[in-house]
């Protein structure tokens, strides 16, 4: 591979403290280097230069994403583009096909995306799709919280064995870390029921709170790059902000293995609700933001709403059922034996709806009220709160009070009574935007140590050059610039030029190998094998994801911390 020199750009590289300095970036053999000899020169004169974007939480691949595509041909008829000499065919808006997913992210300057929920039993499916997404480096978080093994070890208090199970599962699924979704509730959904944080899950005799605490402890027994990644109980229910706060408190005293959070809570917008029903529903973004401001053990991503039609999908089966009951639209459910579940239903976020209006406000409020941008990441929980191609809209909102005021006028008037939104004056700087779209996410995932999210020497040659001046204040122009880069460079190769995809190299899949003591593993496997013999519908020997599914691997070892 050759050399690239990006000249004269205005660089925002938060992990290296670079705040909009005119600076050249040199890349050789796919990595950032100090200097180059005979490079291809890209003149970025006066334009904004950032590391490749890192998405901490997005549903782009696997069983439920594809079920979403399959049952929404009406979504597939949107966003249709014919194949070109470079690109494969594209289709879909809220559930784009694999090719469109890669191209659209790359055009926004993103080069790494975390698939946020991988059912372990269907992990091969997630990997098959990840391989088919062009350009993007990727990873996936296996769901480990409603697993019978997890609950049994939490119940018996065998934290080392729980850690051994967690390690085995992350290895078996070629996963990246621990995903938690409605702990206990998804198991109870196996019987059509649900539970809250401190309810006892029958049969297994554990509470969701105990499950989350146990997994956090297990996670920190290894040098895991990422903390537990949490979608706590009662997502989307009025008044759930108390549960969210209690969830943070659960892990307050656990020491992280590395310099990072102990818990990342995702799509926090859906968990910051006040009121007792949809009638008196209100924003509690301020309470959640205050908690985050006062504590350092938890980070969030916002899960901001994009108005319009989308496809909601989560391992939180009971939540999707409630949503389907509200709308009466099509509803798919897929419970996964001994492990997890999922539900999918289409949803329209309308600015005319008081509830949707408050939801819309909350996501942005969280971003504006959390003081330290290193504690939050920009997401739309794609496609749950809206498709990822809405990120530039959110960016322009955060950067422009004027745009927010104008937008508020188009929303239901409840925004002036039951949201904090209109009273917030803060405007994000480009430096802060760079934090919440790459630096923070890379750090929270531990990927900054592996070349992601920054442009220091040794970093991956992943760069986004936006066609805008650092002085730009026009929200429309900001939005446009962030939707289609002037250049996106991935591993030193130009993949997007003037908003068009010009090359489609394969991305790498990052996975973590937690290194567990053999004796512990052996003891755990005896119990696990019994589960396969008696309860699983596949055999133990056919379970683990074979190497063939990860043709471009990047392994991160996570040693046991004695």
């Amino acid at each position: 591979m050759g050399e690239v020199l990006i000249k004269n750009g205005v660089v925002y590289d938060p992990l290296n403290g670079v705040k909009g300095e005119k600076k050249d970036i040199c890349i050789r053999d796919g990595k950032v280097v100090a200097d180059v000899k005979n490079p291809k020169v890209i003149d970025a004169e006066g334009r904004v230069v950032m590391p490749g974007g890192v998405d901490i939480h997005s549903h782009i691949a696997g069983g439920k994403v594809n079920s979403g595509r399959l049952f929404r041909p009406e979504d597939g008829r949107k966003g249709v583009e014919a194949k070109t000499k470079v690109c494969r065919m594209q289709s879909g808006y809220s559930v784009p096909n694999t090719f469109a997913t890669g191209y659209r992210y790359a055009r926004m300057g993103y080069t790494f995306v975390m698939e946020a929920a991988m059912p372990p039993l269907a992990a091969r499916h997630t990997h098959e799709e990840l391989v088919d997404i062009p350009i993007l480096d990727n990873a996936a978080l296996p769901l480990l919280d409603n697993n019978w093994m997890t609950m049994e070890y939490v119940n018996s208090g065998d934290m080392d064995l729980l850690a051994a199970y967690m390690a085995w599962m992350i290895k078996a699924t070629k996963g990246f870390g621990v995903k938690i979704v409605n702990p206990g509730g998804t198991e109870m959904w196996g019987w059509g029921k649900n539970c809250s944080l401190n309810d006892t899950v029958p049969t297994f005799d554990v509470t969701p709170a105990e499950i989350m605490k146990g997994l956090a402890e297990a996670n920190e027994k290894f040098d895991m790059p990422h903390s537990i990644h949490v979608h706590t109980n009662m997502l989307g229910h009025p008044g759930n902000f108390e549960i969210t706060k209690e969830t943070y408190d659960l892990v307050k005293d656990i020491k992280p293995a590395k310099d990072r959070q102990v818990m990342h809570t995702t799509h926090t917008q859906f968990h910051s609700y006040g009121g007792t029903n949809w009638g008196d529903f209100e924003s509690k973004a301020d309470v959640i933001a205050d908690y985050i401001n006062q504590n350092d053990h938890a980070t969030i991503d916002i899960g901001s709403i994009i108005l319009g039609d989308t496809t909601t999908m989560t391992a939180d089966g009971p939540m999707e059922y409630s949503l389907y009951q509200l709308t009466g639209r099509k509803w798919t459910n897929h419970d996964v034996e001994l492990e997890t579940g999922s539900g999918i239903t289409p949803f329209l976020y309308s600015g005319k709806s008081p509830v949707n209006t408050i939801q819309w406000a909350i996501g942005q409020e969280l971003a504006l009220l959390v003081k330290d941008p290193w504690k939050l990441a920009l997401t739309t929980d794609h496609p749950n709160a809206g498709p990822f191609i809405g990120y530039p809209i959110i960016i322009s909102m955060l950067m422009s009070k004027k745009r927010r005021d104008e937008s508020a006028e188009d929303m239901h008037k409840v925004i002036y009574d039951r949201a904090i939104y209109p009273s917030i004056d803060r405007e994000y700087s480009l430096y802060e935007i760079a934090i919440i779209t790459r630096g923070m996410a890379a750090k929270a995932l531990g990927l900054h140590e592996h070349g992601k999210g920054h442009l220091g020497v040794g970093a991956d040659g992943d760069v986004a050059i936006y066609d805008m001046s650092p002085e730009e204040t026009d929200a429309g122009k900001i939005q446009k610039a962030f939707l289609n880069t002037k250049y996106t460079i991935k591993g030193g190769q130009i993949v997007v030029k003037d908003g068009e995809v010009v090359a489609t190299p394969a991305g790498k899949t990052y996975f973590v190998t937690p290194e567990c003591d053999d004796k512990l593993t052996d003891e755990m496997v005896v119990k696990l094998k019994d589960k396969f013999d008696r309860y699983y519908s596949v055999t133990y020997n056919n379970y683990a994801v074979q190497d063939a599914y990860v043709p471009n691997p990047y392994e991160i070892k996570a040693p046991w911390r004695s």
């Binding site: 049952f71 929404r72 041909p73 009406e74 979504d75 597939g76 008829r77 639209r329």
Partner: protein
């Protein structure tokens, strides 16, 4: 008034395979203002290759038009493999002489289409406005939704001189459909607005309807077991049983009306 005549060349449909020609680029509103030479150069899909209209059709243009409303497109030749006639049409008139292939009048917004023969599946799919007249039979999914959508026809009027196949007006939200002959199974399936009149017989009409109105003037075979008899009513001098349904959608949603003799 301008008349544009397009006659499909016989060699297009004379091969072993009858490869369809798709003419969504040839609506009166899209052709308005074009010269004959320009019309001949409009690209149409014939299988997986794009061709010039003039290479597939004999083209002639008579008169001038001051707006798309003044444009009349006359289609002749073997049209049984010509798809998407009047697809997305906004104004003007189309006269299709003979049997036409699928998606005739799909997503139509305005203007008028007359088919002198039969129309294959999805005629009037997702139609929003205008008028579609099919002198012969209509194949399945007349005025229905596209796959996965929850809305089919929302406006306009469709008249079928002959019979209609399955699922007439599925997910219909508005507009009017008149079938002079019989309708096969599940006319008005998932209907939530608008009106369907079937002058002949019907099979399982009105299943899963939540609003709108269906009248069957002939006999009904396999009446849905989930409709409630509300009483009788006289329409145009004839006595009809009035049913509400479909209770299989729950009582809250069962706001459809079905008149059966």
């Amino acid at each position: 008034m301008q008349t544009i005549k397009l006659k499909l060349k016989s060699e297009v449909t004379s091969g072993v395979a009858k490869i369809p020609v798709e003419v969504d680029s040839l609506t009166p509103d899209k052709l308005f203002g074009k010269t004959e030479a320009e019309i001949k150069a409009v690209r149409v899909w014939w299988g997986n290759r794009e061709e010039n209209t003039g290479d597939l059709f004999d083209v002639s243009v008579d008169g001038t038009a001051s707006s798309a409303d003044d444009v009349k497109l006359v289609l002749d030749g073997d049209l049984s493999r010509v798809k998407r006639i009047g697809d997305g049409m906004k104004a003007g008139e189309i006269e299709a002489n003979g049997d036409v292939d699928m998606h005739c009048g799909a997503m139509m917004n305005g203007g008028k289409i007359t088919v002198t023969g039969n129309a294959d599946c999805w005629a009037g799919r997702e139609m929003h406005g205008g008028e579609l007249i099919i002198d012969g039979d209509a194949a399945a999914n007349l005025c229905a939704m596209y796959r996965g959508e929850m809305t089919g026809m929302t406006g306009g009027k469709v008249t079928v001189g002959g019979n209609a196949d399955e699922c007439v007006g599925q997910y219909m939200g508005g507009g009017e459909i008149v079938i002079k002959g019989n309708a096969r199974m599940l006319a008005g399936l998932n209907m939530h607005g608008g009106k369907i009149v079937i002058e002949g017989d019907a099979v399982m009409p009105g299943a899963d309807m939540t609003s709108g109105e269906i009248t069957v003037k002939g006999t009904v075979q396999d009446m849905m077991p989930s409709f409630k008899l509300e009483g009788t009513e006289s329409i145009d001098g004839a006595e009809y049983k009035k049913y509400s349904g479909d209770l299989a959608m729950t009582a809250k949603k069962a706001k459809g009306t079905l008149y059966v003799k």
